[in-house]
């Protein structure tokens, strides 16, 4: 579904990604793991088109999207929920969700999508008229995910959805990722929360200093000695 082929990304003179390649199959949950500064967010921002590539190509659903503008990629079903959520604080929860279905294709399904996300995240139903800025961190994260779902994504990229949340909420977020998968959405999950992410992943890539260090099915990586040592502290 998504085919990233040997991409390089630079910030000015500094090269952040080196020959990164990854593949995502339709219907899977794929994790992108790695420590701080390993290039996870850079990778997903390149996939969303916010950062230009210096080399390599990105294919989505068989189409080369390397040069396609970010807002156009959303229309093709490639949606990112950014790190830090980026909800619109002075807009109400409902308005935030409506903005998720701003594009024509998604707008036609606005009512059904609203029903779907309210069922997935019942708390949002209680908060529809409230300004997003007044929600708690966990609620904002749910709103950000729900807003992304309003765009009718084929591939949903979640950049550190559990960042800064209490453990019980992290649990909730991971459960909702699985529910979204069961709705037929393919997921790329960026996480520092390695054991939990691997637990729900069909496949995982580990970035180390801007290149893919390890990759394999989630369960295999959980038992990998290198992973255990580096990320699980075992």
């Amino acid at each position: 579904m998504l085919d990233i082929n040997k991409i390089d990304v630079c910030y000015g003179e500094i090269q952040v990604l080196r020959q990164v390649s990854l593949k995502i199959q339709e219907g899977q949950v794929v994790s992108l793991l790695g420590s701080n500064g390993s290039g996870k967010t850079t990778t997903v921002n390149s996939i969303s088109g916010v950062l230009p590539l210096t080399q390599g190509t990105i294919e989505f659903m068989g189409e080369d999207i390397t040069k396609v503008e970010p807002h156009v990629r959303v229309g093709k079903g490639l949606v990112q929920i950014p790190e830090g959520r980026c909800v619109f604080p002075s807009l109400t929860v409902k308005e935030n969700l409506e903005m998720g279905s701003y594009l024509k294709g998604a707008k036609a399904f606005r009512r059904e999508s609203l029903d779907l996300v309210m069922t997935l995240f019942p708390i949002l139903r209680e908060r529809t008229g409230q300004r997003a800025g007044t929600l708690s961190g966990g609620e904002q994260q749910m709103l950000a995910i729900a807003r992304g779902l309003m765009s009718k994504p084929k591939l949903l990229i979640l950049d550190e959805p559990s960042l800064g949340l209490a453990p019980i909420l992290v649990e909730d977020i991971f459960k909702s990722v699985l529910r979204i998968k069961s709705e037929g959405v393919t997921i790329l999950l960026v996480e520092q929360n390695v054991p939990q992410a691997l637990g729900i992943s069909d496949y995982a890539y580990v970035l180390e200093e801007g290149s893919v260090g390890l990759s394999g099915p989630g369960k295999d990586l959980l038992n990998n000695a290198h992973i255990k040592k580096l990320y699980l502290g075992l």
Partner: protein
């Protein structure tokens, strides 16, 4: 100083305050969404006044009807300004944008001198001297029309921003451009639409005042200095604040005019302005960020 004199001044102040509101709403919208201080706003208003003047003198279109011409003309000018001049330097430091809008302002004013001479021109309508009388109060029909125009346009802008998808996208892009882009909102397009709307507001304010204000190339400056005060008073980026601020400054000028000699009538507005800067720099309706 009798009660009628006071009432008369307050009404006149309120009526012109409505026009200040409209100029300020355009300014605050552009600032709120793009973080651009538009020094060319006065020049845009001037273009609106000339549009109305020429529509009236060449085509015999009533000034208040010429708004229908003025809105698309100024929208296109504003949108083109954003798209072709500001977009390329969006990521440049703020003072570059400042120089750019100031430069465009100088260019437009001098273009007006070149095309239409620096002479004062007056739009003379058939109802120039029509007044509404309430007791001893006489209220100029043109000023009432200007006020009503300003209120209607303010209402439309407010409705647009709060109820339509485009308006919500404008607000979304102003708060979280990154989040908006990742939701499929073409933020650059939103920017030029917003600038177009802001310019159209300035243009309408120009049309509305042209019947009772002389038109000349640097006329916008008078209104825009006031509008900058209104924007700070109401809170940078707040449409509601710009609306309320315009009326407050209009009234403050009226009160000033009653107490002080004509040339010093703005003294109260300026004192208000300084007090706001000192004690509530975010403005009456401004948000903390």
């Amino acid at each position: 100083m009798n009660i009628y004199y006071i009432l008369q001044s307050l009404i006149d102040g309120l009526l012109i305050g409505g026009v200040y509101s409209l100029v300020a709403i355009g300014l605050t919208l552009i600032f709120g969404v793009m973080r651009i201080v538009n020094f060319a706003h006065g020049a845009l208003m001037m273009l609106g006044m000339y549009t109305t003047y020429w529509a009236f003198n060449l085509l015999h279109i009533d000034p208040y009807l010429s708004i229908l011409i003025c809105v698309p003309v100024l929208f296109i000018i504003g949108a083109a300004f954003q798209k072709f001049l500001i977009t390329p330097i969006l990521d440049a430091p703020e003072h570059n944008q400042l120089l750019l809008t100031l430069g465009v302002s100088l260019f437009l004013e001098n273009l007006a001198v070149f095309l239409w001479s620096p002479n004062y021109r007056v739009t003379r309508t058939s109802y120039e001297f029509a007044y509404l009388y309430i007791g001893d109060l006489s209220i100029s029909l043109q000023r009432v029309l200007a006020f009503l125009t300003a209120m209607v346009v303010t209402g439309i802008v407010y409705f647009l921003l709060s109820k339509t998808d485009l308006g919500k996208a404008i607000r979304a892009a102003s708060e979280e451009p990154r989040g908006a882009l990742l939701m499929g909102i073409n933020v650059r397009r939103i920017y030029w639409i917003t600038f177009g709307i802001g310019a159209a507001c300035a243009g309408v304010a120009g049309s509305a005042t042209a019947p009772f204000f002389p038109v000349y190339p640097t006329v916008g400056g008078i209104f825009v200095i006031t509008a900058f005060m209104v924007v700070v008073l109401g809170g940078m980026g707040s449409v509601l604040g710009a609306f309320a601020g315009g009326l407050i400054i209009g009234l403050a000028d009226a009160v000033g005019g009653m107490i002080f000699p004509g040339a010093m009538k703005s003294i109260i507005s300026f004192i208000l302005f300084i007090l706001i800067l000192l004690f509530k720099p975010t403005g009456l309706f401004g948000s903390k960020n």
